[in-house]
């Protein structure tokens, strides 16, 4: 998806639209004319306004906007351990919406539709080996050799810049010998499509002892569940009957807080007189494909670039899905790299040169991504232990955030890019 987004972004700028681009994927390409499935697919992305702007620039937005996706204008984050909660409303920022929830397949189709004619699709294709010029200046002096990609079918592609957008467990990244820092959260993310008793336009997120559970509106009145939980619990949920799954979700979202009479309760009522959180709608049925889960990990590449090579999206940085920021960070990479390549075109710069990639892509993106990743990881860790003082403080913290429009506004502006 992120690689296709880069090709679409390059195609929308006359400075870069004539570039010869080859898109490689292990899988066959998305069928552009395929109609939407009647029930939404369960792999979705929460796209922030900054990402929407990028899709608009690439000309893909008309294929993503409702009814192909659902907007949400409210967000409520609350805690299972107490009554602390934060509500975000778009109007606090003077915006109409906070974001959209869109199926990944819809995004891929929309981006594929806008690919420039200069794009060659090599899908499916399997990469056997890559050859990149080294980091050392002596090798660069001799000439920055072009990168070579060798496919299993015997074909070779020579390129000025090889961009890896092959996800968190990027094979290109390991072939390029770029190292990562990573740790597993000992959690799995479980996704499912459900129906709710009433339609809604709120992104609900509750922090449970085992991890956060999100209920997000998707198109045509359906909702999506993203439930981060222990591997054992995820397996249990996957094995349960549809009715059992629905009951588990409702229990998780609807049960009363475990510490209703926390010592901080009086402080909370002082901060938010008369304000209580909204109860999310009941989930009425499981729809579409069976729920499935995947392991969660944080992963960050120490370098995003080397001569004639760049990592984008999850290949550079995989984050916890709790704030739905992963795809937005990826689109941020796309935007930055597309602009850098346009600047290179304007100044006749070699798009594979290390100094160029470092200055105009790696440096700005690492800063942005590290900030967001650090924040997400801290949030994740803050919400993991569930008893005692920390839970109380966290509970209090959520209310303090909720009571302070300034603070909320800052958090929201940041998340919205």
């Amino acid at each position: 998806m992120i690689g296709t987004a880069l090709a679409a972004a390059l195609g929308s700028n006359p400075l870069t639209s004539a570039m010869n681009i080859a898109l490689l994927d292990r899988q066959a390409p998305a069928k552009v004319d395929q109609r939407l499935s009647s029930v939404p697919e369960n792999r979705v992305s929460t796209i922030a306004p900054a990402t929407i702007r990028i899709l608009q620039q690439a000309g893909s937005w008309p294929h993503v906007q409702p009814p192909n996706s659902a907007a949400f204008s409210n967000m409520q984050v609350w805690d299972s351990a107490g009554t602390g909660h934060v509500e975000y409303h778009a109007d606090l920022l003077g915006a109409d919406i906070l974001g959209h929830v869109v199926e990944n397949s819809v995004l891929i189709r929309a981006l594929t539709q806008k690919l420039p004619a200069s794009v060659t699709s090599l899908q499916p294709a399997s990469v056997e080996a890559i050859h990149l010029p080294g980091f050392s200046s002596t090798e660069q002096q001799g000439g920055s050799q072009l990168a070579t990609v060798s496919l299993e079918d015997g074909r070779h592609i020579r390129t000025r810049l090889l961009v890896a957008a092959d996800g968190a467990r990027s094979r290109m990244r390991s072939l390029a010998k770029l190292r990562t820092v990573q740790w597993m959260y000992n959690q799995k993310g479980l996704v499912a499509t459900v129906r709710t008793a009433e339609p809604h336009a709120t992104a609900w997120q509750r922090f449970l002892p085992t991890g956060p559970l999100a209920l997000l509106p998707v198109r045509h009145g359906y909702s999506n569940i993203v439930w981060s939980t222990s591997p054992a619990h995820a397996a249990e949920l996957e094995a349960s009957s549809p009715a059992g799954f629905v009951a588990a979700v409702n229990e998780a979202l609807q049960t009363a807080p475990t510490q209703p009479s926390s010592g901080l309760a009086s402080m909370q009522s002082f901060l938010q007189p008369g304000k209580s959180m909204t109860v999310p709608p009941l989930v009425s049925e499981l729809a579409g494909d069976a729920p499935r889960s995947f392991p969660l990990a944080l992963c960050h590449a120490g370098r995003y670039v080397r001569p004639r090579f760049a990592l984008i999206g999850d290949a550079a940085h995989a984050v916890h899905p709790l704030a739905g920021q992963g795809v937005n960070l990826g689109f941020g990479d796309v935007h930055c790299l597309a602009q850098a390549l346009a600047a290179a075109s304007e100044s006749g710069t070699d798009i594979g040169s290390l100094a160029f990639l470092e200055e105009l892509y790696e440096r700005p993106r690492q800063q942005a991504n590290v900030t967001m990743m650090g924040g997400l990881d801290m949030l994740k860790r803050l919400f993991t232990p569930q008893q005692g003082m920390l839970a109380s403080f966290r509970n209090f913290g959520l209310d303090a955030v909720n009571a302070s429009p300034m603070m909320k506004k800052q958090i929201m502006s940041y998340a919205m890019g």
Binding site: P14, A18, S137, L146, S345
Partner: protein, 296 residues
């Protein structure tokens, strides 16, 4: 640095200011001793071939972005941006196109390892790079072969401007970037540039040298001697007074002369309004008949 490349152009009577020490770049902004040496302007080198040799010894570092030519690597995108904008405006080319200079012939005088030549080729131009250092030309040729698109649009020759003019060659655009401040006889040098420029063609000069004297000589030479006229101005003298930076010369929003400044903190060069010291300028060569009537 590039002075070395004209060292053997005896027809010009070119003499050189000593502008670099072995192993370091004259462009390094932090190198005060070099700047001081340059500003006295007294040390002139007679043993010209030795200078070419010194330069050739550095040649293999041309494409090392952190080596002695680092300042040129940093400057390159900025001068390219100016050249692109100025030529697009002058020849009514589409500045938003990816290769707007397609089929424009350009001579890069003092091309060194080909930093500027390759960038111009990427914009579509057919580029000839010349340099007096055979080692630099060898390196430039080797580097160009790494990219097939560059290889087919750039030609390098170890030859002087005079040598090339004697072959009867002429180009739409002649560029002497970071060269003229090293030339002790700018009028003769400018004349050779004009000889190589097609009728109504363009000459582009740039310098990040700190000596205003060399700059003044070059500009006066360009205007008074050669009939190469800056667009929309008739008074270059105001251009050359430090402390009185003139406004940009604009036509349709495109600067025809621009200052270049180094942000020391970021190490990035940018275009600026201040033309007093570091500048890049675009001149339109007068038509041949007009040029003939200029005094020399």
């Amino acid at each position: 640095m590039r002075a070395a490349k004209f060292a053997s152009s005896k027809l010009h009577g070119v003499k050189l200011q000593r502008t670099f020490a072995t192993g370091s770049s004259p462009l390094l902004p932090s190198d005060r001793s070099l700047a001081a040496e340059r500003s006295d302007g007294l040390q002139q080198l007679q043993v010209e071939s030795a200078e070419v040799q010194k330069f050739s010894q550095l040649a293999e570092d041309w494409w090392n972005p952190t080596g002695p030519f680092r300042p040129l690597h940093q400057l390159n995108p900025v001068r390219c941006k100016f050249i692109r904008a100025a030529l697009c405006d002058q020849y009514r080319l589409n500045p938003a196109a990816s290769r707007p200079l397609t089929d424009v012939t350009i001579l890069d005088v003092g091309c060194g390892g080909g930093l500027l030549s390759e960038s111009l080729a990427r914009m579509g131009a057919r580029v000839t790079g010349i340099d007096l250092s055979a080692a630099s030309i060898d390196l430039a040729r080797a580097h160009a072969t790494m990219d097939p698109q560059i290889a087919k649009s750039v030609t390098y020759q170890a030859i002087s401007t005079d040598g090339l003019a004697q072959q009867g060659r002429s180009f739409d655009v002649v560029i002497a970037s970071e060269v003229i401040e090293h030339v002790d006889h700018p009028p003769a040098f400018c004349r050779s540039l004009a000889d190589l420029t097609a009728s109504s063609g363009t000459v582009i000069l740039s310098t990040i040298n700190r000596t205003v004297r060399a700059y003044a000589l070059a500009i006066v030479a360009a205007e008074r001697v050669l009939g190469i006229l800056p667009r929309d101005t008739h008074d270059w003298s105001k251009f050359i007074t430090p402390g009185q930076p003139p406004s940009r010369f604009r036509q349709g929003g495109t600067p025809y002369a621009s200052g270049m400044s180094l942000d020391v903190a970021s190490g990035r060069w940018g275009l600026s309004e201040d033309l007093a010291v570091n500048y890049i300028a675009c001149f339109r060569a007068a038509a041949r008949h007009a040029q003939a009537s200029q005094p020399s």
